[in-house]
Amino acid sequence: MMREMSGAEMVVEALKDQGVDVVFGYPGGAVLPIYDAIFHQNSVRHILVRHEQGASHAAEGYARSSGKVGVLLVTSGPGATNAVTGLTDALMDSVPLVCITGQVPTHLIGSDAFQECDTTGITRHCTKHNYLVKRIEDLPRVLHEAFYVAKAGRPGPVVIDIPKDVQFALGTYTGPKNVQHKTYQPKLKGDMDKIRQALALIAKAKKPIFYTGGGIINSGPAASALLREFVGLTGIPITSTLMGLGAYPASGKNWLGMLGMHGTYEANNAMHGCDLMIAVGARFDDRITGRLDAFSPGSTKIHIDIDPSSINKNVKVDLGIIGDCAHVLEDMVRLWRTEAMSADKGALAAWWRQIDEWRERKSLAFQNSAKKIKPQHAIQRLYELTRDRKPYITTEVGQHQMWAAQHYHFEEPNHWMTSGGLGTMGYGLPAAIGVQLAHRDALVIDIAGEASILMNMQEMSTAAQYRLPVKIFILNNEYMGMVRQWQELLHGGRYSESYSEALPDFVKLAEAYGAHGIRCSDPSKLDDAIREMIDHPGAVIFDCVVDKAENCFPMIPSGKAHNEMILAELADDAGIEIGSVIDEKGKMLV
């Protein structure tokens, strides 16, 4: 379809053609023509955030919970720079976003004009790709190409910077058909010879393990279904990164729990002791591997990933298969069936006996209390009382995030939204808003800390404006808990600037935003308070006052290997000086 229209109208038309129903944004001088075009139509809904960082995380929440591309629209200068954190977050966690930024008119570019910044320069390192569109003739192609680049291959954020004169200029709009990128065509199907080699390794492995990550979620629901099928067929134990939770159900019998720095004892020891590691859509991040030279020393490693640069980046693998998880898993499952392959059942039985021994350590156990609410207990109760509603969970970053990952159990993909790679405090509330807009009738809970939530608290206004019933469940320990924990472990308990001084009254704050506030500090009243939160039809801020001193265990200390975890029982043991567990070299690491 070819039609004459302004650049601003092209933007809206392209959004419609790309099937976008929601855009998160904030107006300003350099995007006014696009806002005017939005005013004149009803098919694309604009959600007014209160800060551009909120727009970027809301778009992430929307994208991750729906599998679609998230879209944000911000003005030049500060609008663009405020969005940078969310763009970086999306790059690290491979979330498909299209971010449209206004720019000063082309003749003013480079003159230090009002609200001018070098948006493409600033965002070059925090986007998968970006464009500065200086000619109206290029705009339709760039708009459609941006959506393609954002979701093709390993997804990521794409910025389109559009000068104001280009928004006013008239040109011919063309639809998304026949927009094919000339160079960027990621390989989806894996090499069949390598897939056969992988299957042969799996069939003869004695102590295999699946280590899966966010790539499975990004690949779509089919990848999760195939993964479940393949795990079922082979009987191999499976663990996952923070980003991959929900791809395999937590109730599944092969599930070992999350691995890594705050992963379970059984998952980490199985990774350490396995003879075959099958990494699928995971990137061997430092939170996962711990000490690299002691990472899973005796195993053969297979790595399936759509991004060739992920393979051999941190850990040298024996067999790298480049392709989309769903495509590769489909070939694997099909061949496994048609060639009637089977795993070494005897060896697997022995492997499972070993794993069950590790499991007996009950590494997620904690000392509960009748006086104070333990944060782990709070998450467990939240899980028990909300699980039947199949809620979407977002988090902020810190101890509460790890407790949520450990004690809230995920059955389905796309139901867990957290900032993994970048670790962005302030992610959870705007992300929850994005999730709620993609799933209007769902229960959406932001599991938060009292420090993180304040970083984007202004987005409560957005929730109020659009009547979004998001539930904010704050584990309030009056500390930046993870900072405090590290100061206890590494810096002699000198809690430099990690106390949350002068906190607001969260109940009154909720009321100020037109939401419902609940406070609970009594373990015996917790269940009723959580029920009150769920039953309330609107937005809720739940101030859950928890034990201030609780640490998040188990933990692989910095610079240690998977088999050198600290368990809570060890930490509680008076004989061991917790501050001495991490050596000088480990202190240098983050």
Partner: protein
Amino acid sequence: MSKSNVETHTLSVLVDNEPGVLARVVGLFSGRGYNIESLTVAEVAHAEHLSRITIVTSGTPEAIEQISHQLDRLVPVHTVTDLTLAGNSIERELAMVKVRGRGENRVEAMRLADAFRARVIDASTESFVFELTGRPDKIDQFVELMRPIGLVEVSRTGIAAISRGPEQM
């Protein structure tokens, strides 16, 4: 990462000649802490808007493999070829060398230039500018010989490289 097995490789990168593409490539090197020893870029196919970037970099074989993959991941990059890994490539560099001197030094400069097949592209009563093409080590050698004679300054293009034989990269 051990420093013992650091190698120098020449990478040839074919890219869309669009604004910012060089900044993407250079930014990737600085952002990820890779080395650039030499970098040249020019359009090689005007109609297709293709530019060829030749980068000489150093690192462990693993680091260089990673550099190739990271470059390949950039959206405007068509192909990345590790010419050193592929073997059998030709590398050339052009230099312009300004030398100042009178009398015997002037004669000596001319004699050396002749031996290196350098051409005189500018001359005054007390100076020459030589143009010299060759492998980087040949240029290094020439520059070192000119130093005592009266070297003023050098301008070098950096390395351009291509594989031998009939095949395209």
